[in-house]
Each structure stands twice: as structure tokens, then as C-alpha cells.
Symmetry: C2
Subunit: 80 residues, 2 copies
């Protein structure tokens, strides 16, 4: 199965990288761009009996390694 | 409109971050994980007349700022 994990800073946390990108886009001539958020996406293959098992495994991976859950939220997608 | 840009290293380029994550997951007890790729995802709002215009604008942003097209590929999604 294929897992895709999106990791973003939580809503209340200042996204410095997003602010830098937004400022750069404004400077390059796109003043209408707003609310820029920069996150990570992690894709991988894994072996699991079914999608529910895979989802639980990947959530555990996020909690332990892939996301800093104090300041980041994550979303898991499993495709067969 | 809302734009989502996924940026990944091209297939032939060594993904050092992905390799590190894969190795860490193996060490944490998930030996069945493979082909880990780590990329960036950039989300933002923009003003555009229609989805096609927005798509063209965002592709231009990727070429100029958001992706290093020598070693990275990108995928743009526009949602109203």
C-alpha cells in the first residue's frame, strides 16, 4: 500500500517559511497571494493487511517520528 | 481560489531526507516501509478570474520561486 502524509504547522503557530514565501511572491509581482502555508509531504510504500491497519500504523509513525505533534498537525491518506 | 503545490525531487535524484526517514522508521520497528520520499507542500489563496488562469499563474510561481526545476518536479492543484 502507498501512504501519503501531509504535515503542517497548527493554525495558531507562526509559519515563518510561509511568510517568507508570501513576501517573495509579493515582490515578484503576485500581490494577490495570501495565507501561504508551507508543509511537508512524506510518501512511502508499506506492507499491511488492510487500509485500516495501514492507517493506524502510519498514525503511530507520525506520532513517533514524522510530525512534531506539539506544533504540527498531520493528515494520512492510504491508497491500495 | 486555493492553490496547493506539491514539490518533490525528480525520480533520479537521491532523496537524502527520505533515506534518513526510511532508516529511522526501520529502526523504530517498521521494517516494511520502503521508497520513502519527502517533499514540500505549499498552500495559499490567490485571486484569479478562473481556474485555468490560476493554474498558469501558479505554474509561473513554481518556475520562478517555489520549485528548483533542475532537480524538483511539481504538481499544482487549484480548488475554487
Amino acid at each position: 500500500m502507498k501512504a501519503t502524509v501531509h504535515v503542517f504547522l497548527k493554525a495558531g503557530v507562526l509559519d515563518v517559511q510561509g511568510k517568507a514565501v508570501e513576501s517573495a511572491l509579493h515582490g515578484l509581482g503576485w500581490p494577490d497571494v495570501s495565507a501561504v502555508r508551507v508543509g511537508r509531504v512524506i510518501e512511502f510504500d508499506l506492507v499491511a493487511q488492510d487500509a485500516a491497519t495501514a492507517d493506524a500504523e502510519v498514525e503511530a509513525m507520525c506520532d513517533r517520528l514524522l510530525a512534531n505533534t506539539v506544533i504540527e498537525s498531520f493528515r494520512v491518506e492510504i491508497t491500495p
